[in-house]
């Protein structure tokens, strides 16, 4: 049994090492480019190592665009969306998963429709709505279209359904209502699903680009992704790659670092989310 296993894992290395290397190439290029000067970059000879370790591009990127603001905005939007979502999906999931009432199944299917209609495909009407509500160029405008989440409702409903009825009874005996049940019984027991949803929501909104691009204009509401993309948009010339890559590093570094430091926990809870569904 020992022998074939070894042969087995040797094959695994043969596959994994080159593949991991290829996956890492863009990251290496990102770092290498960000430290180069423009003429160096335009040279036909390619070197991984920059001629000098200069942070000029980073300084320039920081002065060209207010990345500090963009960061703040992004964090606020992401947290705000998640916070509201947790409230709305827990309540809805409780009704769908634990209560019986007429029209429940139809309503649930109606909820799921949202999975098919994310904001980028209904940008036009939503832009009008946001404009009517006088919310253009605000952080709320970015988040509000996601305040209800069909995916989250689905996930939490599954989790709530799996919790035995008896768990609720003690709360009921103490005279507690639905809200007490959700907060004290269901959410604690559904923690893995909650975390799973939080991960999905956070990474989705951190990544978001198109809708924020449309509804925001200024630094008071622009997100990192939008700021970055604008930096690279040039009419008369190519993006300044060294500058763009420096800005990209500024944008991706914190989350990437957090991921590398906490990778075990991160990946584990992600896997858990996968199991739980």
């Amino acid at each position: 049994m020992v022998q074939p296993l070894k042969k087995h894992s040797l094959l695994a290395y043969v596959v994994l090492v080159p593949f991991a290397f290829v996956m890492l190439l863009p990251l290496l290029l990102l770092v290498s480019t960000a430290f180069k000067t423009l003429p160096e970059l335009m040279s036909i000879d390619f070197h991984w190592l920059p001629e000098a370790l200069s942070f000029d591009n980073f300084r320039k990127a920081m002065s060209v665009a207010p990345f500090g603001w963009y960061y703040l905005n992004t964090i606020i939007v992401v947290v705000m969306v998640l916070a509201v979502q947790i409230v709305t999906i827990s309540l809805a999931a409780y009704a769908f998963g634990r209560l019986k009432f007429p029209g429940r199944d139809i309503l649930f299917v109606l909820f799921l429709v949202q999975l098919l209609v994310p904001p980028q495909s209904v940008v036009v009407p939503n832009y009008h709505t946001i404009s009517t509500l006088k919310l253009l160029d605000t952080k709320i405008a970015i988040g509000v279209v996601y305040f209800a989440s069909a995916y989250g409702t689905f996930l939490m409903r599954q989790a709530f359904k799996a919790i035995p009825k008896e768990m609720e009874d003690s709360v009921k005996m103490d005279g507690g209502g639905g809200l007490t049940t959700i907060i004290h019984v269901l959410l604690p027991l559904a923690k893995p699903s909650l975390i799973a949803f939080a991960m999905v929501s956070l990474s989705f909104h951190w990544n978001e680009f198109f809708w924020p691009l449309i509804v925001t204009d200024t630094r008071k509401a622009r997100l990192l992704t939008v700021g970055l993309a604008l930096l690279s948009q040039a009419t008369e010339s190519n993006p300044e790659w060294s500058l763009t890559m420096a800005a990209t590093i500024i944008v991706v570094l914190p989350l990437l670092l957090a991921f590398i430091v906490f990778q075990r926990r991160f990946i584990q809870s992600f896997m858990h989310s996968g199991l739980k569904g």
Partner: protein
């Protein structure tokens, strides 16, 4: 425990919702929003912002927020959308040929009253000739020139020397262009192209000059018709086909923006591009390069291009304030500053005598080539039609379709199809 988290989350919501973090300046009575696109994103956006903040400091009444909106296309998208949603910007810099679209949706106001205030014809005469006509329609003036340009030819003087060409004698005709390209192109051992002779990017703005040089006409004065399926257009594409597939000295497809880096990286010896890329190229290259008029064919001709200021329909107070911004920005010293930072042609005649600009052009006469071209050869108007963006995309798709296709017989069919497509788009106007 969970109750606490719940409460905290709710609190976070409330705080986040309450915080919109605006930053209007104290004491100003008129607050304006201005969208602008720029050529070289990073540095020019910075220059624009600093000029606007200088304007804000220069007077007590108006505060302008300058909003970088991407490239020309993206800026127009944003301005259009904002107008449609009842939230128009007060002023914008947009690609000048967007005029008809903006008129069709009723988004902008004529500027004649403001111009009369500034001195009427005398004021208009201050502008660099050739840039005003594209702002005129139905006897009114609708936009003021800002970042204006002509396509020019950039060439790598080092490469010219390397192959024994005189670096002070760039090609002057299409035939010479082809000959030079053949000498300058290079291939490496594995058959990959090491260097192109010339790059003419896929953008109608550098195709139309070829068309007018061949004696053709692309679009009519009223902007209601475009002509694609013509003898002259065939000549243009046969010539481009020859460069790309018979001589193999020019790429079939080169995105507009990428071509600048190609030139800076020495991937091409010659390049057709906007004069607006001049400063960027100067900053990113170590080699010796020159600028020249576009090589000519039957006619020595070129087109103009670039962005103008438009004032949107808001209210009188805002419009008057917006005009102040435009007037201030186009003063000779300011347009000179903008040209220094970019390579665009100053829009006021007096700007050429502003000390800094004069010092710059004396030291580096290359910077004046675009302006000289404007005054020394025939200048045709940039293409301008109704449903401009749609037509423009159609022409660019046509260009990529033809030049990306090694089959020469395809040209004929593609031109016919494109003509039919264009006629359909402009059906209402014909």
């Amino acid at each position: 425990m969970y109750k606490k988290i719940f409460v905290i989350l709710l609190l976070v919501c409330v705080v986040a919702l309450a915080w919109t973090g605006g930053q209007k300046e104290e004491g100003k009575t008129v607050y304006l929003r201005m969208y602008y696109p720029v050529g070289v994103a990073g540095p020019l956006a910075q220059l624009m912002d600093s000029m606007i903040s200088e304007f804000n400091k220069s007077q007590k009444e108006v505060y302008v927020e300058s909003i970088f909106a991407g490239g020309y296309m993206e800026a127009m998208d944003k301005a259009q959308t904002a107008f449609l949603a009842g939230n128009p910007p007060d002023l914008t810099v947009l690609d000048a040929p967007n005029l008809l679209t903006l008129l069709d949706i009723g988004a902008i106001i004529p500027l004649d009253d403001f111009i009369a205030q500034e001195g009427g014809q005398r004021y208009l005469d201050e502008f660099t000739p050739g840039f005003l006509p594209i702002g005129q329609y139905n006897g009114k003036l609708w936009s003021i020139p800002w970042q204006r340009s002509t396509p020019i030819m950039y060439y790598n003087r080092d490469f010219f020397r390397e192959v024994g060409l005189n670096p002070d004698r760039p090609p002057r005709t299409w035939d010479e262009l082809a000959d030079y390209s053949a000498k300058l192109a290079k291939r490496d051992g594995s058959g990959n192209v090491g260097r192109w002779g010339v790059e003419i990017p896929n953008d109608y703005w550098v195709i139309k000059p070829l068309l007018v040089q061949a004696g053709g006409e692309g679009d009519n004065e009223a902007g209601t018709h475009i002509l694609v399926d013509s003898k002259e257009m065939r000549e243009v594409y046969n010539f481009l086909y020859k460069l790309a597939y018979e001589m193999k000295v020019s790429p079939g497809i080169t995105p507009w923006s990428q071509s600048v880096s190609d030139f800076a990286a020495g991937k091409t010896a010659m390049l057709y591009h906007s004069t607006g890329a001049l400063t960027y190229i100067r900053n990113s290259t170590k080699f010796d390069f020159g600028t020249a008029f576009l090589p000519s064919f039957r006619r020595q001709a070129v087109i103009e291009g670039g962005g103008n200021f438009f004032l949107f329909k808001t209210n009188e107070r805002h419009q008057a304030a917006a005009w102040k911004v435009v007037e201030w920005m186009t003063r000779p010293e300011n347009t000179a500053k903008w040209s220094l930072g970019s390579g665009y042609i100053p829009v006021k005649k007096a700007a050429f005598d502003v000390a800094e600009y004069k010092a710059y052009t004396d030291e580096w006469p290359q910077a004046l080539v675009a302006y000289r071209q404007l005054t020394e050869v025939d200048v045709e108007r940039n293409m301008m039609t109704h449903r401009m963006n749609e037509i423009y995309d159609l022409l660019n798709v046509l260009d990529e379709n033809i030049r990306g296709n090694p089959d020469k017989s395809f040209i004929d069919k593609a031109l016919r199809d494109a003509q039919a497509g264009a006629d359909k788009i402009l059906a209402k106007w014909q």
